[in-house]
């Protein structure tokens, strides 16, 4: 052991911890097992623990945006509001409807939470500080997300309630549709970085964050992952101000809360993923000298994006179901397909810059990719304008002429 390196705090703690375990007389295999177990517990604890703060934070923030105070009764500034909420949920009776499929009915909420927590296994907090650095990290993220869809389908079916089932179909239709642009836009950072490893993608952003090189992909990713969470403006399926509830209508107590726990974790998880894939993750000034700073940079970026997410949530009106699906299939999917082709051609033509490229060499690379994105955005807006005005003209032509006003 060569001293406790404070600049790489988290890896140093891990080193001390491992050596302590070895001194206890555990064999190397057991130490590795205990370490992996501890890693899993830590990542899960981070995801679930953060929710406690984001719930209060989000409620306060929504309150401020809507010119209210938000929760302000429990604890200083209402900061402890979540504690009585959780206690209430924990003590409520868990009801299983008659003729429900009991096994699947109790598995579904667990699956909903697990599918989101599993994503945190591959998100890098700092260089090397992550659950596991899979070389297929991006693919893993897409794979585990599919458990969420399964959970909702099972919840809707096992409740033995036709409204829950219909709602589950609607939710799954939305989730599956928006998965297509999500994956297609996820491919662009993978393409630019030349790796599917999440840490590798962050390291590749030393030559410029991908939000500069591929802003359209970032927007598509953020929009479609917001739809995956099912938050406003994509929350018509769970519109709590209009309908009772959706696939979770029969659930009560903590099982009911599990679906919302999953949704709340998912909300900041997509922000963490956006920060990792497009905003340089743990990258920031002096991060090469002091790797521990990466955790702070990552969290700052994540919560900055989360702020925008809440901002959108409170200000955007809901979409209608046909608008929602049209927006996906007629706009996002074609755009992300074209974007993927254009970006791969552009990246191929410019070639990847060397790792130690100077600023002068990087500028043309940035310029080409950014320019391609700007052109693509301009073309998209132009096409949208033309098509939109044509549809509007057709609608106006089809409309019946208004009855002539006859004077008295």
């Amino acid at each position: 052991m060569n001293g406790f390196d404070i600049s790489n705090l988290f890896l140093s703690i891990g080193q001390v911890w491992t050596e302590w375990l070895l001194q206890l007389g555990l064999s190397a295999g057991w130490v590795s097992f205990v370490n992996k177990l501890a890693g899993a517990v830590l990542v899960t604890a981070f995801a679930v623990g953060t929710v406690v703060f984001t719930i209060v934070g989000e409620r306060k923030l929504i309150g401020r945006i809507q010119d209210r105070l938000g929760p302000n009764r429990v604890g200083p500034f209402g900061l402890l509001q979540t504690v009585p909420d959780v206690l209430k949920l924990l003590t409520k009776e868990i009801i299983t409807p008659a003729n429900a499929d009991k096994v699947l009915y109790s598995i579904a909420p667990m699956l909903a939470v697990a599918s989101v927590i599993l994503i945190w296994g591959v998100v890098p907090f700092a260089n090397g500080v992550m659950g596991v650095d899979l070389d297929i990290g991006a693919l893993y993220f897409v794979a585990v997300s599919s458990f969420g869809t399964l959970a909702i389908l099972l919840a809707g079916w096992s409740s033995n309630n036709k409204y829950a089932l219909v709602s589950a179909f609607r939710v799954v239709a939305q989730l599956i549709s928006y998965e297509v642009p999500l994956v297609l836009s996820l491919l662009v950072p993978v393409l630019l970085a030349g790796t599917m490893s999440m840490n590798g993608i962050v390291q590749a952003q030393a030559q410029g964050w991908f939000v500069i090189l591929a802003p359209i992909s970032m927007l598509i990713f953020f929009i479609s992952s917001t739809a995956e969470v099912g938050r406003s403006p994509f929350d018509l399926l769970e519109a709590d101000s209009e309908i009772v509830a959706g696939y979770n209508i029969e659930y009560s107590g903590m099982r009911f809360a599990m679906f919302f726990l999953g949704e709340w974790i998912h909300a900041f998880t997509i922000c963490g993923l956006t920060a990792t894939l497009f905003f340089g993750g743990w990258r920031g000034p002096f991060v090469d000298q002091v790797p521990a700073l990466g955790v702070i940079y990552f969290l700052v970026k994540m919560f900055a994006i989360y702020f925008v997410h809440i901002w959108i949530r409170t200000t955007m009106p809901r979409l209608r179901i046909d608008h929602l699906l049209d927006f996906n299939w007629k706009f996002l999917v074609p755009l992300s397909l074209v974007n993927l082709i254009v970006m791969s051609l552009a990246a191929r033509l410019t070639g990847m810059p060397r790792a130690d490229a100077a600023l002068g060499e990087l500028l043309p690379y940035w310029g080409v990719l950014l320019g391609v994105n700007v052109v693509l955005a301009a073309v998209t807006l132009y096409v949208l304008g033309v098509v939109g005005s044509r549809i509007r003209r057709r609608q106006e032509a089809a409309r019946e002429p208004e009855p002539a006003v006859t004077g008295p």
Partner: protein, 170 residues
């Protein structure tokens, strides 16, 4: 430790398989299929084929199993308690199952006694995913099957859209 995990995943795959054929309720059977497929994905992880494992979860659980459950839910009554596990094809199914089982028995007996540990597999190359991708797009290797599969999927997709399209007869 690896053996414990191996046994866990094998049990998942086998129990899931048994449940698929014994469950009378089709949705539960489809869910058991998910369990079985997940167990197989776990076995892929143990074989250090992480890419295959992720694709297994993504394609079989994320797409196929959900499609099966969707189809069952849309075509059957909601909670259909008992349904016979047999249909008119049970005879042929029995024949093929017996033939398969005999084949497996033959292979296992032929390989008996199993020389566990005596055969050391070569180490998995670190960039197996990259090698797989290059092989699929290599002109001399698998690019033709890859492209044929892509065209087949594309035509199936177009066909599905044509079938699902609303007819405007008016």
């Amino acid at each position: 430790m690896t053996y414990a995990v191996f046994i866990l995943f094998t049990l998942m795959a086998l129990c899931g398989g048994v449940l698929v054929v014994t469950q009378r309720n089709l949705v539960r059977a489809a869910t058991a299929l998910v369990l079985s497929l997940f167990g197989v994905a776990g076995l892929y992880v143990l074989l250090e084929a992480g890419f295959l494992a992720a694709v297994q979860v993504l394609v079989y659980i994320g797409a196929i199993a959900i499609l099966i459950i969707f189809a069952i839910m849309l075509t059957r009554r909601m909670v259909q308690g008992d349904e016979s596990g047999l249909n008119r094809q049970w005879g042929w199914a029995l024949v093929s199952a017996v033939v398969m089982f005999a084949l497996f028995c033959y292979v296992v007996v032929k390989a008996w006694p199993l020389a566990l540990g005596a055969v050391s597999a070569p180490a998995v190359p670190a960039d197996s995913t990259e090698a797989l991708g290059l092989a699929l797009l290599d002109w001399e290797q698998y690019v033709l099957p890859f492209e044929i599969a892509s065209v087949l999927l594309l035509s199936a997709m177009v066909g599905a859209v044509v079938i699902a399209r609303e007819k405007h007869d008016s």
